[in-house]
C-alpha cells in the first residue's frame, strides 16, 4: 500500500514559515492500493483540503476513517472536495458515543451555526457508519479497529492489504496512569493494533519533559511513542501529531537525539507531503517534500 501524509500537526492548524517542512495542517493521511478507483483517508484534519484537490479523476469510492471527533481531526471535512462530487461514493466511518450515533455527532459540527452546509445536503452518495470494533473489509484492505486511550470515544486503525501492515494511532496516551511505561503488552492500550506493524504512525506530541504537565490530555511524548513501538515490535515508526508550539527548528533538534541513538527501530518524524511504500518486511519513505 502507498501512504501519503497530508496533515501531521496536532491540535490546531499551524501554518507559516516556521512550520513549512514538518507541516502545519492537522491530521490527514491518504492510503491507496493498486487500484485507482478507491482511496482511504485517515482523519479529516485541515490536510484533507489539499488531498481533495489531488484525488484521481478515476476515483469511484472514498472511505474516510475517523479516529475520533476532536475538532483537529474533522475540521477539514466540510472542505473535502469528494463530498461535493455527485457521482462519488463517500463512506465516513467513526466512533459513536454511548448515546449518539456518528451521524448525530458529526451533524453537530456540519450544521449551522458552525458550518453552512448540512450533512444531508451534500451532493455525493454519502454513507455514515458507526465504526465497528473488530475487523471489516474495504476494497483491497482489511481494517481492524479498537478503542484506545484518549479522552472520549477514540479508535485506532490497523490496515492490512495482504502485503503490508499500517497502524494508525494519531492520538494516543498509552502511558496514562502507568507507573513504569511500557508495561506488559497485555496491559498496554493499542498494542494489538500495532503489533509487528510494518509502519506505525503514532502520536508524539510532546518532548519528554513536557509530558508531565500534560498527563491525561490524551497524547504521548516522543520517548513514549518509541517505547510503545519497540514493545509492539514495529519496524518503522512515524512520530506524528506534532505540538503546535514546536516549529521546524525545534523538531529538528528533538529528533536529532533519536537519530543519534542506534536502534533497530527506524524512526522518520512525520512531514507533510511525505510518502511511504508499505510492503511486507519493509516500509520505506519514497519521497519527502521539498
Amino acid at each position: 500500500m502507498n501512504v501519503r501524509l497530508w496533515g501531521t500537526r496536532g491540535s490546531l492548524p499551524t501554518p507559516g514559515p516556521a512550520t513549512r517542512r514538518y507541516g502545519g495542517n492537522t491530521s490527514c493521511v491518504e492510503v491507496t492500493g493498486s487500484r485507482s478507483k478507491h482511496a482511504i483517508v485517515l482523519d479529516a484534519g485541515s490536510g484533507i483540503r489539499l488531498l481533495g484537490a489531488a484525488l484521481a479523476p478515476t476515483l469511484e469510492r472514498v472511505d474516510v476513517l475517523l479516529t475520533h471527533l476532536h475538532l483537529d481531526h474533522i475540521i477539514g471535512l466540510g472542505f473535502f472536495a469528494a463530498l461535493f462530487e455527485r457521482d462519488l461514493d463517500v463512506n465516513i466511518w467513526g466512533p459513536a458515543s454511548t448515546t449518539l450515533a456518528l451521524r448525530d455527532r458529526l451533524g453537530r459540527y456540519l450544521s449551522p451555526p458552525l458550518f453552512p452546509v448540512r450533512l444531508r445536503d451534500l451532493p455525493c452518495r454519502l454513507s455514515l457508519h458507526d465504526v465497528p470494533l473488530g475487523t471489516f473489509d474495504l476494497p483491497e484492505m482489511q481494517v481492524t479497529t479498537a478503542l484506545v486511550c484518549h479522552p472520549g470515544p477514540t479508535v485506532g486503525y490497523r490496515l492490512d492489504d495482504g502485503q503490508g501492515t499500517l497502524a494508525y494511532l494519531p492520538d494516543h496516551e498509552p502511558a496514562l496512569g502507568v507507573r513504569r511505561f511500557p508495561e506488559a503488552c497485555r496491559w498496554t492500550s493499542g498494542h494489538d493494533l500495532a503489533a509487528a506493524a510494518d509502519l506505525l504512525i503514532h502520536d508524539a506530541q510532546y518532548a519528554r519533559d513536557e509530558y508531565q504537565s500534560h498527563v491525561g490530555w490524551g497524547h504521548s511524548s516522543v520517548h513514549q511513542a518509541v517505547a510503545f513501538a519497540e514493545l509492539a515490535g514495529v519496524r518503522h515508526l512515524v512520530p506524528f501529531h506534532h505540538d503546535p508550539a514546536h516549529n521546524d527548528e525545534y523538531l529538528d533538534a528533538l529528533y536529532q537525539q533519536y537519530a543519534e541513538d542506534a536502534c533497530e527501530l527506524q524512526i522518520t518524524p512525520a512531514q507533510e507531503g511525505a510518502r511511504f511504500e508499505v510492503r511486507g518486511t519493509r516500509s520505506r519513505s519514497t519521497s519527502t517534500p521539498s
Binding site: 478503542l147 486511550c149 503488552c185 498496554t188 493499542g190 494489538d192
Partner: protein, 139 residues
C-alpha cells in the same frame, strides 16, 4: 495460574486497562474479572486481604479464586461459587452485594463487605465485572 508473560498476545480491552490504572491508585480493595470470570487484576489494597501479591498470583480462573479464599457466610457456612457477588454480576448482569468472611492465602481471616457490578463498555460490550471490598473492623 497464568501471567502476562504466559499469554502476551491478547491485549485487554482499553476500558479494563484504564480501570486497572485507576484501581492501582485507589486505596480501597478492587478485584476485576473478565467475561469468563478469570481474575485479571487486583490492586495493592486487595493484596492485603488476599494475602498474596498480584505479581505472584497473576491471573486466576474463576474455579480457583472462588474457592481459594474460602468465602463463608456470617454463620460460617460456605458460600457456593455461583452465589458470590462477582459471579452474580457476571452471570446475571446485575449488581450484587454481600457481607462475608474470607481467608487470605496467608491464613488471615477478614470480615468484608463486597459490592460487585457488571462492566459494560462502549457498544454495550460485556467486559466482565468489578468487585469493591470493604473490610469491617476486627471484632
Amino acid at each position: 495460574m497464568t501471567t502476562d508473560q504466559d499469554d502476551p498476545g491478547v491485549q485487554h480491552q482499553v476500558e479494563v486497562i484504564l480501570l486497572k490504572q485507576v484501581a492501582s491508585y485507589l486505596a480501597i480493595p478492587i478485584f476485576v474479572v473478565d467475561p469468563q470470570g478469570n481474575l485479571v487484576y487486583f490492586n495493592e489494597r486487595a493484596e492485603g486481604l488476599l494475602g498474596r501479591r498480584y505479581d505472584e498470583t497473576g491471573e486466576m480462573p474463576m474455579s480457583e479464586w472462588s474457592t481459594i479464599f474460602v468465602p463463608t457466610h456470617e454463620d460460617g457456612t460456605p458460600i457456593p461459587a455461583d452465589e458470590l457477588p462477582l459471579a452474580i454480576a457476571l452471570t446475571q448482569h446485575e449488581p450484587a452485594h454481600a457481607t462475608m468472611w474470607i481467608r487470605g492465602l496467608d491464613n488471615v481471616q477478614h470480615h468484608i463487605a463486597v459490592t460487585a457490578l457488571p462492566l459494560v463498555g462502549q457498544h454495550d460490550r460485556e467486559l466482565g465485572a468489578i468487585a469493591v471490598f470493604w473490610e469491617h473492623p476486627a471484632r
